[in-house]
């Protein structure tokens, strides 16, 4: 279980308390007059190194002041306070300041409580011993400055004088009077009186009266109010005082030190309870965040110990992190090993499958890609059938019901890829060409009979030019023209026809051309038709 050591130093001795749970015990007590102190102290040095340690000062050479300082902030405030501390305590090792209040009138200055140890020779020998033993002190505290915290369980006035008493060797009582004004230490002083039953009560009353007089002269006390004196005394001395008169302008409040200790959670079975004992226990349980004093040697050593502690924690963290990362990596490695075994098996399977499948492909010539490429090229070229038998069969079917129209010439060719089924070039070749259907019809010249869908095919059509004449013509041009146009519309309705253009009619009646004829000459009513086939098939022959 965690324990805390408190090195309590007063003017005569060093007492080491060990606080654990709700108990406190004295490990050792060293009189400064004793020459064997150093040896005895070093016996416990190893024990002190393992625990948390505090230094508690209960010395008579501590001075207290209250200073009025301008209300400034930041570095200016620090500078002002430092200057004041240097003024009162030139060595600067044992000094402390805290803000008491801000005045509400005038410049509204700040009131600071300043305390410090004017003669640190007694403390220095203790500090030297601690430092030479490499004992880490986590904080240095002043007993008077802790008094307000220690009597907090007692209901009291705003202004109180706390009187603690210890019986010293040599038949004297050591008194510490600590005046607290609204929670802030105003002053504290130590006196000693003879422990004679006849005189001690009287001396005590005089001490209280002197204190009241001092405070009254300082105008600290509330006018017309009795000063409350809280007495933390040994039982026998308390009994003595109860039977005596109270100091003038004062009222006594007797507090049993054991009860006060109990209120702080201390079960004081192992040692006599006094204010230093309660303060030591209080420090072990509720250590103030800020150390009252920061002696250079102890602070430097403590800071180094903090670095050491950080390094120790960092080492532990590094070890834990390394172990965690390594374990995770090894677990992952183990998984990878298992995965590798599976992959190795899969690879063998895949290779075996590939080997078995590739057996049938060895020595194949040409390769499958070559096969495909060759066949595709062949199909592309052979996709257009313009053989005479196909053309003749198509025309035979197309002219089946047009015996009055005789064919005198046929020309066909495969239209080069990329040209439309019916292009401007086709029109320009025609004697009766025209881009305007209506104009062409009106002219009785070229008439376009588009197929059911007017789209121009991007396929490779076969173009067939047919020249012919009308049989049995008896001068009826209208009848002859109608037959040719009927033939044209009949052919254009066939499935494999893209387009049909009438390139020549038996009589050219285009208004834009000159028409002349001698009736004596015989007329041969010629016609011309251009057919665009869209057939893209591989014929059986291919």
């Amino acid at each position: 279980m965690k324990s805390v050591n408190v090195f309590c130093v007063n003017d005569n001795r060093l007492t080491v308390y060990n606080c654990r749970l709700s108990e406190i015990k004295i490990i050792d007590s060293f009189d400064f007059a004793d020459t064997s102190v150093k040896l005895r102290f070093e016996e416990y040095a190893d024990f002190y190194k393992k625990t948390k340690n505090y230094l508690l000062l209960d010395v008579s050479v501590e001075d207290y002041h209250q200073e009025k300082l301008p209300h400034v902030h930041g570095s200016d405030r620090k500078l002002l306070i430092r200057r004041k501390l240097e003024k009162y305590f030139p060595d600067g090792e044992y000094c402390y300041s805290t803000l008491v209040k801000r005045l509400k009138v005038g410049r509204r200055d700040d009131i600071y409580a300043i305390s410090g140890i004017t003669d640190s020779s007694v403390i220095s020998q203790v500090v030297s011993g601690i430092e030479s033993s490499c004992i880490d002190i986590a904080g240095v505290f002043s007993l008077p400055l802790l008094t307000e915290n220690l009597i907090s369980p007692v209901v009291h006035k705003d202004q109180i004088l706390v009187v603690s008493c210890e019986e010293e060797r040599g038949g004297r009582y050591s008194f510490r009077q600590t005046f607290i004004d609204n929670g802030h230490l105003y002053f504290s002083r130590q006196t000693s009186i003879l422990s004679s039953p006849d005189q001690s009560a009287d001396q005590f009353r005089k001490e209280i009266d002197r204190t009241w007089q001092y405070l009254n002269n300082k105008h600290v006390l509330t006018a017309g109010d009795r000063m409350q004196v809280i007495l933390l005394t040994p039982p026998e001395f308390g009994r003595l005082l109860r039977n005596e008169a109270v100091a003038s302008h004062s009222e006594y409040l007797f507090v049993d030190p054991v009860e006060l200790a109990s209120a702080h959670g201390l079960r004081a079975d192992n040692c006599a309870v006094s204010l230093p004992v309660i303060a030591s226990f209080f420090l072990s349980k509720k250590t103030p965040k800020k150390s009252h004093y920061q002696p250079k040697k102890l602070t430097a050593f403590h800071n180094h110990q903090k670095i050491n502690k950080f390094l120790a924690n960092a080492s532990i963290f590094v070890v834990i992190a390394a172990v965690v990362v390594s374990v995770m990596n090894f677990i992952a490695y183990d998984n990878e090993v298992l995965k590798g075994e599976v992959l190795s098996y899969n690879e063998k399977e895949a290779v075996a499958e590939l080997h078995s499948k590739s057996l049938g492909f060895r020595g194949i010539d040409p390769s499958p890609q070559e096969l495909q490429a060759m066949v595709d090229v062949y199909r592309t070229i052979a996709s257009v059938n313009s053989y005479p038998d196909f053309i003749f069969a198509f025309l035979s079917t197309s002219f089946a019901n047009f015996q009055d129209l005789a064919i005198s010439g046929i020309e066909w060719y495969v239209k080069p890829e990329g040209e439309g089924a019916w292009s401007e070039q086709d029109d320009s070749m025609d004697e009766y060409s025209s881009h305007d259907d209506s104009r062409a019809v009106a002219a009785g010249g070229m008439k376009v009979q588009p197929s059911s869908d007017q789209s121009l095919s991007n396929t490779q059509p076969i173009v067939i030019d047919i020249q012919g004449s009308v049989k049995g013509f008896k001068g009826n041009y209208r009848r002859a023209i109608e037959r040719v146009e009927f033939l044209s519309s009949h052919i254009s309705a066939l499935n494999n026809v893209d387009n049909v253009i009438v390139t020549k009619l038996p009589l050219n009646v285009d208004p834009s051309i000159k028409t002349s004829r001698a009736l004596s000459t015989a007329v041969i009513p010629h016609f011309g038709i251009r057919i665009f086939l869209n057939r893209r098939v591989l014929d059986n022959e291919h």
Partner: protein
């Protein structure tokens, strides 16, 4: 704050030692893990490569199934053979003799490589074309059908009729024989072969 190293020496040495040892252990474990992961990744790559090759084989099998029959037919028609101009001439003259086409005239242009992009010729194929044109008189239009059919059935490449013109000329006496039509046609004989370098590239994967 002045640092007194003698006060920190022990912890510092401990910390550094622990850190170095921990770092070594962690690095060793990472290296071990990475090496195994890399070897597994390589193995995965190999498996993928083998699977890819297997898939390619399957695709090749599908290609062979789809194209082998057509390829055999096309091959039997001499599309991949050398040009056989002699057989064309023999067949043409034989047909002319059979049909009594005394006026038949023909000429065959030198074979040329087809570089026309319209044919979508793959880079692996060399396509060649020889153009045959003829002019003749015909007694019947069916004679033209016979001439082209006789040439087409030759196993001497792919024959394509580029253009034809047949004109009825009426009743005339030419050389003591009657003929009713004149015809002129332009035909193309296509041949192909495979580029060797490309063939090797294409079959590399198999």
């Amino acid at each position: 704050m002045n640092i007194e190293y003698y006060l920190l020496r022990r912890r510092l040495i401990t910390f550094l030692t622990v850190s170095v040892i921990s770092l070594i252990v962690v690095i060793a474990s990472v290296i071990l893990l990475n090496s195994k992961q890399n070897s597994n990744a390589i193995m995965e790559g190999k498996i993928q490569s083998v699977h890819a090759n297997t898939n390619k084989l399957m695709n090749d099998a599908a290609l062979i199934e789809a194209y082998q029959a057509d390829y055999d037919i096309i091959s039997s028609r001499g599309f991949y053979s050398e040009e056989n101009r002699l057989s064309w001439i023999e067949q043409l003259e034989k047909t002319a003799s059979r049909l009594h086409l005394n006026k038949l005239q023909y000429h065959i242009d030198p074979q040329q490589q087809v570089l026309d992009s319209n044919h979508n010729i793959p880079a692996s194929i060399n396509l060649f074309k020889s153009t045959l044109s003829f002019d003749t008189d015909l007694v019947h239009e069916g004679d033209l059908v016979d001439i082209v059919k006789d040439l087409a059935v030759l196993s001497a490449g792919l024959l394509s009729v580029d253009s034809c013109k047949i004109t009825k000329v009426g009743e005339r006496l030419v050389g003591g024989s009657d003929y009713n039509f004149t015809a002129s046609c332009e035909l193309s004989w296509y041949k192909a072969n495979y580029r060797e370098g490309m063939a090797e590239q294409m079959s590399d994967g198999v």
